[in-house]
């Protein structure tokens, strides 16, 4: 378990890994993005992560990310309620995103390994982080190391991870595990738990990590259920929801996971938001993703009807 007295103060509460709405021409839908974030904050989210894994970060350019963030700040979304996932294939691109976060005074940046088309050596990866951290040494924005699934990014070998944490411990606020591997949490806690905060993006890991916060994709759709799980872990009396079919948040989460299973995650979240917000425009996905096929939609409709979402309470 992390010991916050020895570590930097990390983020708290539920931070949805926000899906990014697009219009029919595949351009960013800023109005819908702003409204989705407002709605999540109203429902109790502490903040949001933009252009992360669920937000199709690699599909949007630096200019588009700048446009979106500038719009959100201008329209009154608090800067400290936003984190920016800085995914990129080159150091200069990631540095530009970190500087953008500095300029807008965002809460934090998430730094991940690069996309690349060849196997990378440990030395190459260490050099990548050295090159990157040298250029963002003066950045005041909180920085988290973002571990993503191997299918998206190069996985960080243990030796490289140790090297990076050891060298940049002063700069790093924590490690965020979004690899999908719950077993990795224990290894991270054992190896780095006394140096940096460890977070997971898997809602079911809340009980394992007892961390102060979570970045959650499911919170796009059921923000309050994820909040209740966090509160239950922190010893706060879980709120009893009248009329809720299953009162345990954990059971509710498992039920929702069953709805999501078997379908492509991002198009599924977008489809579910189109149902919750009663607007088919939410189904649009930016290529190379596509919206769900009719067979998946039929199956999801059936499963989601059984879930019986209570939009006010979940």
């Amino acid at each position: 378990m992390n010991s916050p007295t020895q570590l930097k103060a990390g983020f708290h509460g539920v931070w949805p890994d926000v899906v990014t709405p697009v219009k029919e021409d595949h351009s960013l839908d800023l109005r819908r993005l702003e409204s989705h974030i407002r709605t999540l904050l109203y429902k109790g989210a502490s903040g949001v992560v933009l252009f992360g894994e669920c937000g199709e970060g690699p599909s949007f350019s630096y200019d588009e990310k700048t446009q979106a963030l500038a719009h959100l700040v201008k329209e009154g979304i608090a800067s400290n309620a936003m984190m920016l996932a800085c995914m990129g294939s080159s150091v200069p691109e990631v540095v530009k995103l970190v500087h953008l976060a500095d300029y807008l005074k965002l809460n934090a940046v998430l730094i991940s390994t690069p996309f690349y088309f060849q196997d990378l050596s440990d030395d190459g990866l260490v050099n990548y982080f050295d090159f990157l951290f040298r250029q963002i040494a003066k950045s005041p924005t909180h920085c988290y190391l973002h571990l993503l699934p191997g299918k998206m990014h190069h996985e960080l070998p243990d030796g490289v991870l140790s090297n990076v944490v050891e060298k940049y411990q002063e700069r790093l606020y924590g490690i965020i595990n979004q690899t999908g591997s719950s077993s990795l949490n224990n290894d991270l806690l054992k190896s780095f738990g006394e140096k940096v905060l460890i977070y997971s993006c898997a809602e079911s890991d809340i009980k394992i990590l007892h961390s102060s916060g979570i970045i959650s994709a499911m919170a796009n759709v059921i923000p309050k259920v994820v909040q209740l799980l966090m509160q239950a872990d922190q010893g706060v009396q879980a709120i009893q929801i009248p009329g809720m079919k299953v009162k345990s948040s954990e059971d509710r989460l498992n039920e929702f996971q069953a709805v999501l299973a078997q379908h492509a995650s991002i198009p599924t979240y977008k489809y579910l938001l189109s149902q919750i917000y009663k607007n088919q425009a939410w189904k649009m996905a930016r290529p190379p993703l596509s919206h769900l096929d009719s067979i998946s939609i039929t199956a999801l409709d059936k499963a989601f009807a059984g879930f019986a979402l209570q939009a006010n309470l979940e």
Partner: protein, 70 residues
């Protein structure tokens, strides 16, 4: 974040409507479904008209499909 001056689209009695924060607080939580929050009444109204447009398009498509199948 301060929502005092913002507006909401809600689903109430099978109707979608725009209400202010003040109006929302007066409603019994079990009598409506909160859909979305918007910065202003104008933004909420624009979304509401889009929602109606999309639902009409969907309905027209269903009617056309039914006509074709007969």
């Amino acid at each position: 974040m301060d929502f005092t001056n913002s507006c909401f689209i809600i689903d109430r009695n099978k109707m979608h409507m725009v209400v202010s924060h003040e109006e929302l607080l007066k409603l019994d939580i079990h009598t409506y479904t909160l859909l979305q929050n918007f910065k202003s009444h104008h933004e909420a109204t624009v979304e509401l008209s889009e929602m109606l447009k999309y639902s009409m398009t969907t309905m027209n498509k269903k009617v056309d499909d039914m006509k074709k199948s007969h």
